[in-house]
Symmetry: none
DNA sequence: AAGGCGTAATTGGTCTGACCAATGCCGCCG
DNA sequence: CGGCGGCATTGGTCAGACCAATTACGCCTT
C-alpha cells in the first residue's frame, strides 16, 4: 500500500489518528483541544483544524462549539443520505435496493461452507441476514451491506426473504 | 431525512460543490483559486481551505502546490467517502478491498446466465470485470462496485484475477 | 452543609494578514 | 526561433486576534 508520498495534510490526519489510538481513547471520549493538539504535534492550529474538519466530515469525530471534540462510534446514519441521493436523482431505481441486498447476501451465501450454522436464525429475517453477512469475515463488505440495509429498512418494506426462501438457502447449493 | 441542521463547514463544502457544478467544470478542469473562491463565496480563505482539504481527501479535487486545484473524475464520489471512512478508521484492512471486489463480482457471476458472453473479454482483467458487473443490470450495485474498484485501482495492485481464473469462471458452475 | 447561580476560563468558529514555496507564464536575450 | 530567467499566481503554513458556546468553579443563598 505504498503511498509514501503523503502530503503534510495527510500526515496530520494520520498523526491525530495515531495519537487518539495511542492514548487509548474510546468512542464517546473527549479528545484534546485543538490548541493542545497543535502544541503536541508541533503544527499550527489551522493545520489541526483542517485535519479535524475532515475527520468530522467522515464521521470519525464530532465537534461541539465550546465543548470540545469527541470520538464517535460510527454507526452513523450520515451515509444513508448518500444512497438516498442516488434514488432521489433518479440515477438508481428503488428496486435496485432490494436487488443489491440480494446480490450482496448471495455472494456471502456462496462463500459460506457451513450453512447449518444459519439454521439457528431461520426465524427472523433481519438476524438471519446479519449472521450471513458476518460469516464473510470481511469488515468492509459488512459495512457496505450495513449501509444499504439500513436504507432499505428505512422504507419499512419488511422482510427481504420469506421464511421458505431462507430455508431453501440452507439446502440449495445452486444458489 | 431532515438534517436542516448543517454546520457552516458543511455549507461551505456544498457551496463549493454547487459552484463547480453551476459553472460547468468538467473533470480535469482547473477550478478557481482559493482566494477567488473565498471572495466569491464571501467566506475567509481558511474556511475555503478546510472545505477544499476535505474534498481533496475524498478524491473529488486535487491540489497542486503553486499550480491550482483541479476537478477529478466525475463519477459520484459518494462511496469513496464511505470507503475512505472505513480505511481511515483503521477498522477495515486493505486486504478487505480485494476481498470485497471478489465477493461483489462473485454474486454477479452466479446471477449471470449466459457466461459465454464474457468470453470476448477474457484477455483484459479490467474489462472482463466491468462487463461482468454490468450484466447484473443493477445500477446501484454497479455504482458500489465502481467505487470500490476505483479505490482498489488507486493502489496500483494490478489485476484481480489471473487469465486462468477468468477462464475458469466461464465453466465452473459451482462458483 | 447543600444546592443554585453567575462569572471566568476553556474551547471551538472565524477571520485578517503575512510570509514561504512551488508552479507557470511571458518576455528578454542569445 | 528557442532557451532561460524573473515575476506573478497559487497553494502551504503560520501567528494572532476576536467572537460564541460551553463548561467549570466558587460564591452566595437558603
Amino acid at each position: 500500500m505504498g503511498k509514501k508520498q503523503s502530503s503534510a495534510f495527510e500526515k496530520n490526519i494520520t498523526a491525530i489518528k495515531t495519537m487518539i489510538e495511542h492514548d487509548g481513547f474510546v468512542p464517546g471520549d473527549r479528545i484534546p483541544s485543538e490548541r493542545e493538539l497543535a502544541e503536541r504535534l508541533s503544527i499550527s492550529r489551522p493545520a489541526v483544524r483542517e485535519a479535524l474538519r475532515t475527520l468530522a466530515y467522515l464521521g470519525i469525530v464530532e465537534t461541539r462549539h465550546g465543548g470540545g471534540s469527541y470520538l464517535l462510534n460510527r454507526d452513523d446514519h450520515a451515509y444513508i443520505e448518500i444512497i438516498a441521493h442516488f434514488l432521489v436523482t433518479g440515477e438508481s431505481k428503488f428496486e435496485d435496493l432490494a436487488g443489491t441486498l440480494r446480490l450482496i447476501e448471495h455472494a456471502a451465501l456462496c462463500k459460506l461452507e457451513d450453512r447449518e450454522s444459519l439454521r439457528d436464525h431461520l426465524e427472523t429475517d433481519a438476524l438471519f441476514r446479519e449472521v450471513l453477512i458476518q460469516s464473510t469475515g470481511n469488515d468492509l463488505y459488512e459495512r457496505i451491506w450495513r449501509q444499504v440495509n439500513a436504507f432499505y429498512l428505512s422504507f419499512g418494506q419488511g422482510d427481504l426473504y420469506t421464511r421458505a426462501e431462507r430455508e431453501s438457502f440452507l439446502n440449495d447449493r445452486s444458489r
